[in-house]
């Protein structure tokens, strides 16, 4: 008789490794790992089949602090390495932890192709708009004018918008959250995990040492309600301290305008309802910036399609099915042969 070993459900702390966490005190990464450990407990993840993969950077230290499998690779290449892992063992549940330099600067190409191929894994971008580990140079997401050791007179490059880029590359799941939003973040992680295909999650993360408060203009308590919009599929795009602001489509200019319900004859029915399967809406939400527009948080886009790993493996399976028990000796002897 088989007695199944009764396994206690794992708690968040069971996902913490025995290694001392070495981020700077006050770093936003602490909050992210907390949310992740909670998520894994919530979804009933197994330590042995969960793998955290990362490149190099502060964010990329993530795997060391998780009690799962982990691979801390080289700068920018986590997406490529993860693709290999997934093809070799599709049963593994892969989370990539990456910084804005790692994912968007040196690793931009692999990210783009990961998204295009739609490999089934979760890609987390810890966006602190700075190179933390190398001591504070500006990054591809840094705003124009960022003073840093490599730009003492201010940076002159226009930053890339991570979510817009992901959508342009063909991502099928794009979400955004903030390190400190400890209710929102696990929920976004859960959705990302649920999605089959590459789930791209941008997490706005505060680097207390080199870029402190760079998101404060919309995360500070007093302004947050008016400068953030939490989107939810099927719900109207309403926000504001008084929940009286909303987004309304202007069909002539094809833009999303911020309107106030009750003003200028605007009623709730004028407000656009979030449809997470609509790519155009997703791009418009992704591109909104304060102070004129609120920052959109939540699942901006989710429109599943076939995954790369499934398709690759299905093709191998088909080949195997077509020639069951393919024999190497026979294969090598195909075509013209002769005996001496």
């Amino acid at each position: 008789m088989n007695v199944e070993a009764k396994i206690e459900p794992l708690k968040p702390k069971d996902f913490a490794s025995d290694q001392e966490v070495r981020w700077c005190p006050g770093c936003g990464d602490y909050a992210i790992i907390k949310a992740m450990q909670k998520t894994l407990a919530d979804i009933g993840a197994k330590r042995e089949s969960t793998v955290f993969v990362s490149g190099i950077g502060c964010a990329a230290r993530f795997p060391y602090y998780m009690s799962t499998y982990g691979f801390h690779t080289i700068h920018g290449r986590a997406a490529a390495i993860s693709t290999g892992i997934k093809l070799a063992n599709p049963g593994l549940d892969i989370w990539v932890a990456s910084g804005d330099g790692d994912a968007l600067s040196i690793g931009g190409n692999h990210l783009l192709h990961l998204l295009r191929r739609n490999v089934n894994l979760q890609f987390l971008l810890f966006n602190n708009e700075i190179y933390g580990l190398t001591k504070g140079q500006y990054s591809p997401t840094s705003r124009v004018g960022t003073r840093s050791p490599s730009t003492p007179l201010g940076s002159v490059e226009s930053p890339v918008s991570a979510c817009e880029l992901a959508l342009g590359a063909g991502a099928r799941f794009v979400a955004r959250s903030v390190d400190t939003q400890q209710k929102h973040l696990p929920e976004v992680f859960r959705r990302a995990h649920e999605h089959q295909g590459t789930s791209f999650v941008e997490i706005l993360q505060n680097c207390i040492v080199y870029n402190d408060d760079v998101f404060a203009e919309f995360t500070a308590k007093d302004v947050a309600p008016d400068r953030q919009i939490h989107v939810a599929h099927g719900e109207p795009l309403i926000f504001g301290a008084n929940q009286d602001k909303g987004l309304k489509v202007n069909p002539g200019t094809m833009s999303l305008d911020v309107v106030t319900i009750g003003e200028d004859g605007v009623t709730e029915s004028d407000i656009m309802v979030h449809d997470e399967t609509n790519p155009t809406l997703a791009r418009m939400l992704a591109s909104m910036e304060p102070p004129d527009d609120p920052v959109a948080l939540g699942v901006l886009y989710c429109s599943p399609t076939e995954t790369y790993d499934d398709n690759v493996l299905a093709q191998v399976q088909e080949a195997k099915d077509r020639i069951p028990d393919a024999d190497l000796n026979e294969y090598l002897r195909r075509g013209h042969t002769w005996t001496v």
Partner: protein, 625 residues
Amino acid sequence: MSTAASTAETIEPLEDREELESVVIRFAGDSGDGVQVTGGQLTQVTALAGNDLATFPDFPAEIRAPAGTTYGVSAFQINFGARRIRTAGDRPDVLVAFNPAALKVNIEDMAGGSLVIVDTGTFSGRNMKKAGYDTNPLEDRSLDNYRVVEIDISKRTLESVGSFDLTQKQALRCKNFWTLGLIYWLYGRDRQPTIDWLNVKFGKIPTVADANVAAVNAGHAYGETAELGLEVKGYVIPPAEMPRGLYRTVTGADATAYGLVVGTRLAGLRLMFGSYPITPASALLHALAGMKEFDVITFQAEDEISAVCSAIGASYAGSLGVTSSSGPGIALKTEAIGLAVSTELPLVIVNSQRSGPSTGMPTKTEQSDLYQAVYGRNADTPVPVIAASSPADAFDAAIEAVRIATKYMTPVFLLTDSYIVNAAEPWLIPDVDELPRHKVEFRTDPERFHPFLRDEDTLARAWALPGTPGLEHRIGGLEKDYDTGNISYDPENHHRMTMVRKAKIDGIADDIPPQTITLGSPDAAVAVVGWGSTYGPINRAVDDLQVEGMDVSHIHIRHLWPLPRNLGRLLQSYEHVLVPEMNTGQLRTVLRSEYLVPAVGLNNISGLPFKITEIKDAVRELLEG
């Protein structure tokens, strides 16, 4: 499986023909002339006739250069004989030139008195001008030194296929098979295998199949009816003595693919191949992409970095990750190879070398990436390096690369080159079930486990796969503590880890065969030491020189890093060590540094394999001063 027996009616009495020990034939023409296909058929038929052989396809750099241009000329050379054949031959005995450009480009390689067959039908003023001829070479006596056979092959072909429903263009496309028929007559070859092949190949367009068959037969008949004139007679080349067994011809690309698949099977693993196309390495990707039924996964990555990284990821997850490229692409992989060294993951990196630097001459051969393989990384990152010495040898070399990578948990370089990739030779097909296994044991026991726990003998670390309960661990490129596998910045630990990584690779020298003398004795005056595809010319040259009575040996090195334990002592026993290389002296550097032997180089960086005579001359010079 085909049969070695020939169809009776296609054989004529060959008894009266003159016997040759070997012959070298080169076909040359426009890409559209089907030169490579023609060569491929002659190769098959010759192999079936029991000759040993070697081939050398030489592709133009352009995909499809305008017809008639010199840079658009495609060539295929075959050397076959009644003795063991080592190279595709220094100089052709027969040149088939399908147009003036082909004649122009190839005539300088021909020895005086050799046979030159030209299709006069293509010698229009326009074509000759395109080829850069001011006067008609067939008339200006510039070919007086050769036995020129002028045939209007175009016209003859059109005649031979006139009864089929073909456009003129289609009909002319049968030229190569007409010519092949003629060559078959010349050397007494069996037409049937080619006829069979045509019928399969063009099964869906029987008119084309039939027309080509008719062309083969017509070309053959042309020879038979002695239309060639008396100076050209048929020859016979008896079968060569070869080890007994079942043979096929194989290119280096195919042999490498088979070796990787077989080697991975012998290790009990799945093969995951990550690559990005590049000439001439793509051929391996193509070959493996067609082997999915053997559970092979091929991943065409977005670039070489992704390719090697995907392979590393696959090895991390328990497959054997293999990646492949040529020099410029390998350059891009070197950072990631460092990660594989640091994390001690198995990985096979196949480099099909080509002519550099940079883009260089992408379709030409060279062996100038040895420095890159042995030394070409940042930090102290020793990596085993293995080279294949011929197309068929790539099979064994690939198995050996897989064995070492998995047994020692290390990246391994497998070096081939453009010549090996594209050339073909007979291959004694092994019984895969009889090959020695080198099965991988994954770690599953959590007891006292850490990821950098080492096997006492091999010094290889434990391979523990994600998915295994209880062995959850983290690895990465940061230095690791010897005793726990955790990150460590301890100075002494780093020294210790660097030294153990080195000792692990150095120790492989005890697990590879001692260096043998390929030909000759340890007390000769000269050792000609080679690696890779120079095997053929060196071997033939040394063989010939020994026949001439010269005191010379051939040593060919397969394991370039670590080197066989006995190699130093062996080399020190010779007066002269000559190292012919298709580079400026890379193996020479390694040998001099390792053994302090005053090795001298013979360096040919022309994009072409060595000629046997070049090596013979160099040895003579060394001995005679």
